[in-house]
C-alpha cells in the first residue's frame, strides 16, 4: 500500500521536524514520511547525517524533500549526494508545501502534477 514517493521533512528545530509529519499523516496514511530536525546534539540547526538517516528510513526509493531555511538546503544537498535514492528538493514553504505534496501523493497524483501545484508555493 505504501506509495512510490515518500516525503522527508528537514527543520532546524527537532520538535518542528517531528511535528509536521503528524499533520501530514492525517491526509496521507500511505505516504512514508520521515524527518530530520536539529543538529546531532539536538540543538537548533541541521545535520547532513540526520538527513541521510531520514532518507534511509523512508520506505520509498523516491523522495520529495522540504526544508525550512536556506542553510538546511545545503545539508540536504550534501545528504542527497550520499544517498542512492532519487531525491527532489522543493524550495516551497515547508509546512504548506509538504502538506500539499502529502495530500496529492496520497491521491496518487503524478509527480509532475504535484510539482505544478507546488510551484505557487515556491518562496525561496
Amino acid at each position: 500500500m505504501t506509495k512510490k514517493i515518500g516525503i522527508v521533512i528537514v527543520s532546524h528545530v527537532p520538535e518542528v521536524a517531528a511535528g509536521i509529519p503528524r499533520l501530514l499523516e492525517q491526509v496521507a496514511a500511505d505516504v512514508s514520511i520521515t524527518f530530520a530536525g536539529g543538529t546531532d546534539d539536538n540543538d537548533i540547526g541541521t545535520s547532513a547525517a540526520k538527513i541521510s538517516t531520514a532518507f534511509t528510513e523512508n520506505k520509498a526509493d523516491e523522495i520529495a524533500a522540504f526544508y525550512d531555511l536556506g542553510s538546511s538546503k545545503m545539508n540536504l544537498e550534501l545528504a542527497v549526494e550520499m544517498t542512492d535514492k532519487k531525491v527532489h528538493i522543493y524550495d516551497a514553504a515547508l509546512i504548506e508545501g509538504a502538506y500539499t505534496a502529502a495530500t496529492l501523493l496520497q491521491a496518487d497524483v503524478a509527480l509532475k502534477d504535484v510539482e505544478e501545484q507546488l510551484a505557487p508555493l515556491k518562496i525561496k
Binding site: T39, D40, I44, G45, T46, A48, M74, N75, E77
Partner: protein, 201 residues
C-alpha cells in the same frame, strides 16, 4: 628549501594549520557569535567551536593518514558538527580539496576548487556579503603573489559595506550594511592561520 616545502600542502602543514585554527576560533568564539547577532542568529562562534573541536578529535583518530584522508576527516567533522550554514560550506571546501589533492598539492589550486565548492553549495556570488567575499579575493592573491594577512584583513573588512544577499543576513536587506559578515571573519582566521602554520604562496 623550507620555502619550497611550504608551497605544497602536506599532512604536517594541514595538522599544524588546524591546531592554530582551533586556537584562533577558541579565542574568538564570543566575537564571532557577537558578529552573528545583529545580522544572524548569534551562533557562529559556537558553531565553529563545535566544528574545530570535531576536527581535532577526527584528526586524532587517524593513524598515519595521507593528505586525502586528512582533508576528508576535516570535511566530515565540519559537516557533522557545525550545525549552521557554515558547516556544509566549510565542509564542502575541504571535501573538494580532498578530491583534488592527489592531482596537485598547490594551495592555490586546492583553494580554487574549495572556493568553487563553496559557491556551488551556497549559491553565493562575490558581493553577497558571505565567506565567498574572503575566499574569492584571497584565492586571486595567490596568482599575483600578494597573499598576506594584509589582504586577508582587507577582504574581511570589505564585507562591512556590503548588503547581504545570501544567508540569514539577507532577510535584513540593506539593514545588513555596516556589519562585518561572521563567516567572512572566520574564513579570515582560516587563511591567517594557514600563513602562521607556514603555508604561504
Amino acid at each position: 628549501m623550507a620555502k619550497e616545502e611550504a608551497e605544497m600542502l602536506t599532512v604536517e602543514l594541514t595538522k599544524k594549520w588546524m591546531e592554530l585554527f582551533y586556537d584562533e576560533i577558541d579565542k574568538n568564539k564570543a566575537y564571532l557569535s557577537e558578529l552573528d547577532t545583529p545580522i544572524g542568529d548569534g551562533d557562529h562562534g559556537n558553531n565553529m567551536k563545535r566544528g574545530v573541536t570535531g576536527v581535532k578529535e577526527g584528526l586524532a583518530k587517524l593513524k598515519e593518514p595521507d593528505l586525502k584522508a586528512t582533508l576528508q576527516a576535516i570535511a566530515m567533522a565540519l559537516i557533522s558538527k557545525v550545525g549552521g550554514a557554515s558547516g556544509p560550506l566549510y565542509g564542502t571546501a575541504f571535501l573538494e580539496m580532498a578530491k583534488k589533492c592527489n592531482e596537485t598539492q598547490k594551495p592555490e589550486e586546492l583553494f580554487t576548487v574549495a572556493l568553487e565548492g563553496i559557491k556551488k553549495r551556497g549559491g553565493a556570488k562575490e558581493g553577497d556579503k558571505t565567506m565567498v567575499d574572503v575566499w574569492a579575493p584571497i584565492v586571486k592573491t595567490f596568482s599575483d603573489g600578494s597573499f598576506s594577512k594584509e589582504e586577508i584583513k582587507k577582504a574581511v573588512e570589505s564585507t562591512k559595506d556590503m548588503e547581504a544577499r545570501k544567508g540569514r543576513a539577507s532577510y535584513l536587506g540593506e539593514r545588513s550594511i555596516g556589519h562585518l559578515d561572521p563567516g567572512a571573519m572566520s574564513s579570515g582566521y582560516l587563511f591567517e592561520t594557514f600563513i602562521d602554520a607556514g603555508g604561504t604562496k
